[in-house]
Symmetry: C2
Subunit: 239 residues, 2 copies
DNA sequence: CGCGGACTTGATAAGTTTCAAGGCAGGTGG
DNA sequence: CCACCTGCCTTGAAACTTATCAAGTCCGCG
């Protein structure tokens, strides 16, 4: 069921059959969340952590003036609130951008992992560490890259993350985001996102029609974004 | 020696005497790093994690065009690379903004903690989770707040973080940053930082002379920044 | 067929950067 | 002890990037 999660963790380090089985059993049930619905709300105090099994989700915060900032995009295999095991109260919400299927891992199970499965614990830690690295890349992109470079960077990131869980096909993948949502992730207005996307198209870097994004020139896209894949890097202390 | 670290972790949950002692022993030696020097360089593969004992440090990334983005500020008690235990290769560097004294915790010790000290492991996890929450706040601020609000937000954050480790005095604290460095943290040009700081002064929100920053009106500063301290919140699942 | 959501376009405004200078203060060497 | 130097802060003007406002257009779906 949570194939993507296992696949993702296997990018970090080999999993024993026993560990895989344990992970399978760790997800207690699944729920479908419809598009536009919150998977978790700000202020919630979950007693289980949520794994995204299918669909796209986004962490976001809302400001008083109605502006929204997306602070992370999530794809199948991602824990959307692994940290809620450690920090009780959600400091942000998570939204289903497409219809999503999610699974739940009771905090009790996570506690058991942290007490009796040091290797799995470390892998979950790597998961968190990679999330943090992604956050830092977003900060760099927001602070010091142009809108165009920033957008290119995000596309590079999504491509590699989706590939890591087997959700790309050659150079294309499903990117079921509206330009408005992309703007909320990049910190740009919808209008400007539109112009930036058109620039990427004019430069023959991407094709994006409907939900399908094709990377037409991976080299130049990376170059433009000054994208260094190391931060996602699945290069870890082996057990 | 690593009083600040212990103090910081105690904000998360009570530490037993045994745990405190263990932490004391975990820091193997200290080194002084002079101002402007890197504590850790990008690409390093440390075999120990570094705790900041005294001074201010900043994580940063450099872009080809020479621009620099600071992705996190660190104060005494902070681990600057706790994650290097899990993800071998540093994806960014850490700079001593002031003369710093740092201590080292061998990864071997961290591994032992992760295997035999579940409670300490969780506290270190909380540490990481709070860092991530700070990162998300930075993303929100960079994406959707004005330069003025963003600056105010950062000052609120620094005040509470320093207070948590006992480094404030009433409403004032040492902020040994140049405006250029602040700009690199906020993603703004030096000139604009200067104007923003002047606005904060004109509004009688802060006084900042030399290294001393006084918060003249905490209420209004928080209000302006739309600052919600929860994310730093030291509200955690007790052992 | 018509409606709504998403995308596109143009014009104008706002926010921020860049460039260029000047000022101030603390520290050093003559 | 003064002069100078250097790093940091400050100011103004002009340029650039991005946001906002206001219309359209396109397209899939009921």
């Amino acid at each position: 069921m949570n194939t993507r999660l296992i696949r993702k963790l296997e990018n970090f380090d080999r999993l024993s059959d026993e560990e895989k089985q344990f992970l399978e059993g760790a997800v207690v049930r699944a729920r479908v969340v419809s598009k536009g619905e919150d998977i978790i709300r700000e202020g919630d105090r979950p007693t289980e952590s949520t794994v995204l099994l299918e669909g796209f989700a986004a962490r976001y915060s809302l400001l008083r003036n109605g502006k929204r900032q997306i602070t992370g995009l999530h794809v199948p295999g991602d824990f959307v609130d692994l940290h809620s095991f450690l920090v009780k109260k959600m400091d942000h919400a998570v939204l289903a951008i497409t219809p999503c299927s999610v699974g739940f891992v009771p905090h009790e199970t996570l506690r058991e992992i942290s007490e009796n499965h040091p290797h799995l614990t470390r892998l979950l830690g790597v998961n968190i560490a990679v999330d943090a690295a992604i956050h830092r890349q977003w900060i760099v992109a927001m602070g010091r890259r142009s809108a165009l470079e920033h957008a290119a960077h995000l596309l590079c990131e999504m491509f590699l993350r989706l590939r890591a869980v087997g959700l790309t096909e050659d150079d294309s993948f499903k990117l079921p985001l509206t330009q408005a949502e992309l703007g909320d992730a990049l910190g740009l207005s919808t209008v400007h996102v539109n112009r930036v996307v058109q620039d990427l198209r004019k430069e023959r870097l991407i094709t994006w029609r409907g939900e399908t994004l094709v990377i037409d020139d991976w080299e130049r896209l990376q170059e433009l974004a000054e994208f260094d894949p190391t931060f996602l890097s699945f290069e870890v202390e082996p057990r």
